[in-house]
Symmetry: C2
Subunit: 455 residues, 2 copies
């Protein structure tokens, strides 16, 4: 097997994707207020492992936004129809659709660049969640992202149903941190005829678990349930094949692995078999473009996902995203990126496991030891996770994590925390390096050493 480096690290000559780092603006240690970094290093790029939260600025996104400001200033209203860079604002969302199609495994008519994740989730719930007397439940996870939980609760309540009856929440088995696929499948089999909708995350925000989308979707559909996915942490992270997997619908944001910028415009997928599903909350942007500006009184939906568009989209936000997704295509797409991602995350895991502070999750959680330890709650099977590893600091509930986070920040290792005990680190295959991973673990060891000394 050899050392972690032997096993995972690519030599520069075997790592053509490493060139894409140049496509991004990477904050320096100084800019990130990494006060513990020596003056000579202060203007070097920091160790940014937070692309699961906010992706870095792609230089092309910046360029395109600046171009759109220029077009606004020089063409004003004419930018909608006659655009110097060929991106007429009337069709600006359409420029993103081919990239979305590639990223999620769909045809262009199955995807739409629009809105924001939670807003799109509600649109999809309005269209797909049709509770009947017998079939009215939503199967989801107990620890779903809160926005999704709020969406489920208010959707159920606004249909006059009781959330405590209508929402089935799946939790990991006692002592475990992630859901077993077999348990999800058996929950579906058990409650099948009462379930209207199965809605799970492609990649779980907290644990980094990559769900078995194909199998779960097939099982849900076999029971007559609709199956939708929140792909916030999956898109741009793992290869997806939503059409082939038969997914009914999916929604995503684009500010994480896709690097679309803070609050970036979102996306949705509607499977081709639902291309004529009635749009329950229509707007002129979902109307056939050929007659959209003639503005006939009767709504004629674009077939497929784009019929759900309501409003003309933010040009600045869409241009930023367009710049960002172009980088994915030039990098050769998700399969290639995933191969590099598995190496980076595998390397991170292997180095963490080699740390004297490492504890196996089982050992760590069955009997909470008194010793200072770091463990990993993300599945160790690479097929069951994306880029992110979720570290938990032990003993839990003792305020270790915030101290570690502070130490990492001071040394310019940027991850993000989830109270009370978790820090998420995600090497992004488009811009992170094997050295970033080494640096992160080296710094973590150093910080844990300090915490240990301070007691």
């Amino acid at each position: 097997m050899g050392s972690p480096a032997d096993q995972f690290k690519l030599a520069p000559s075997d790592d053509p994707l490493s060139a894409f780092r140049d496509e991004f603006v990477i904050p320096t240690f100084r800019q990130m207020n990494a006060t513990a970094v020596s003056a000579e290093l202060a203007d070097q790029p920091c160790t940014y492992l937070c692309g699961n939260s906010l992706g870095l600025l792609p230089k092309r996104a910046k360029k395109l936004v600046q171009e759109e400001l220029e077009v606004w200033g020089t063409r004003a209203v004419e930018g909608h129809f006659d655009h110097p860079h060929g991106r007429s604002w009337m069709y600006i969302a359409d420029t993103v659709h081919p990239y979305f199609a590639d990223l999620v495994g769909a045809s262009e008519s199955e995807v739409a660049c629009m809105g924001t994740l939670t807003a799109n989730l509600h649109l999809m719930l309005n269209a797909f969640y049709k509770p009947t007397q017998d079939r009215y439940k939503i199967l989801c996870e107990a620890k779903a992202f809160p926005s999704d939980q709020y969406a489920f609760a208010t959707q159920v309540a606004s249909r006059g149903l009781d959330p405590s009856d209508a929402i089935i929440e799946l939790s990991p088995r006692p002592g475990e941190h992630t859901l077993r696929t077999a348990d999800i499948l058996s929950a579906i089999a058990r409650a099948g005829p009462s379930i209207a909708l199965v809605l799970l995350p492609g990649v779980q925000f907290y644990t980094g678990q990559y769900f078995a989308i194909a199998d779960i979707t097939a099982a849900a559909r076999a029971q007559g349930c609709v199956c939708g996915w929140d792909l916030a942490h999956a898109v741009g992270n793992v290869p997806l094949a939503l059409h082939a997997w038969g997914v009914d619908f999916a929604v995503w944001c684009t500010y994480k692995y896709l690097n679309g910028g803070p609050g970036a415009i979102g996306g949705l997928f509607v499977h081709a078999r639902h291309a004529d599903l009635p749009v329950a909350q229509a707007g002129w942007w979902g109307h056939e473009p050929a007659t959209r500006f003639d503005m006939p009184p009767r709504f004629q939906a674009i077939r497929g996902a784009q019929g759900f568009q309501q409003s003309n989209p933010s040009v600045l936000a869409t241009a930023a995203l367009l710049g960002a997704v172009r980088v994915f295509r030039d990098a050769g797409g998700m399969e290639r990126l995933r191969a590099r991602s598995e190496r980076l995350t595998g390397y991170l895991e292997a180095l963490l496991k080699a740390s004297r502070f490492y504890a196996e999750p089982v050992q760590a959680f069955e009997k909470e030891k008194e010793e200072l330890r770091v463990s990993i709650i993300t599945p160790s099977n690479p097929a069951e996770r994306g880029a992110q590893l979720s570290l938990v600091f032990l003993p839990t509930g003792r305020g270790i994590m915030p101290r570690v986070l502070k130490g990492l920040e001071a040394r310019g290792v940027v991850g993000d925390s989830r109270k009370p005990d978790v820090i998420r680190l995600a090497p992004a295959p488009l811009y992170n390096t094997f050295e970033d991973v080494e640096q992160a673990v080296g710094v973590l060891d150093e910080v844990l050493g300090e915490v240990e000394q301070e007691g």
Copy 2:
């Protein structure tokens, strides 16, 4: 009375607001492809009277967007919490709320900077349109903006109602172009108990009519109806006092008079008396900010309009809008701008009426004459209109309008057209000049003269 100039035009020394033109980037004749303009003038600002469609780029919007790109590049995820310009992204929407409050006449908790107009309209319909057996109708105008029509039709249909029964559409009297307030009030009185919702535009997109919001709202509420407003063409155009007028809810876009940029982020108003209205489609951004990032499983809505926020908003779009609305405050607010606006539009009307091609609307439409004419369908009472005048070219249905539009464009007068016969011209009080108005009418006369000659 004196000449139109005597009556309306302000001397530069009496026109302090004229200084705000410098706040904007105005496309030149050359940039607008105004090919008929002489070479010496080509690099002068064009005659942009299209702020009712897309407002010009405020220099401050450009600056703020560029700053946000910089912050994304230098602070990345930390921009959410610790922002070099004091605009932490977590609270970026809140930076706009005081400006929205001023612009629409509301308290900050009654407004939200979020989403887009049609999306917000649906959120409001989901919350406020609660049809019952007896009270289920929507009263609107027959020629509402199509996106609103599509919204009404699909909302009604998705409640299982028949649009042809549940939607009452008001049309102007035969031979008239705009709705009489008295007719709206009597329609409300007549159908009152069956009307769940009255939804009208503050300023009508096609005719430029400014509706009597206070009186109509009072009449609707007296009948027990909810009263909502589409303020796309009203916000930033006329002073509004939504709270005092008792309006239940309102929605708006910000890319017209507010100059927020193409597809800019939108706004909504919910009257304080509905501050605890249940949010039917909740998301984490509507959750109390103090605990939003702790992400508790139970949704606790922000009281008031901001509880309707679903997702974290586009920072680029919000920053552009923030730059844009700051100009309004520095200009002294809507009352001052409205005074200048009435002069500009009054001047435009007076100069048009002095044209040899002008025809009174009554004369023009009762018996369609053969002669080439321009008329105005916007109310001539300044209190019943905003900045925009809608010109109609006669004889109608003969393809005059597109020829005129082309002539205007070639000479750098930018308006926008509504097929088949209307061109809308809107002097914006923040950046247009009395000379723009003179130029527009002079060019229009010239173009009509050419059309006349060509036959």
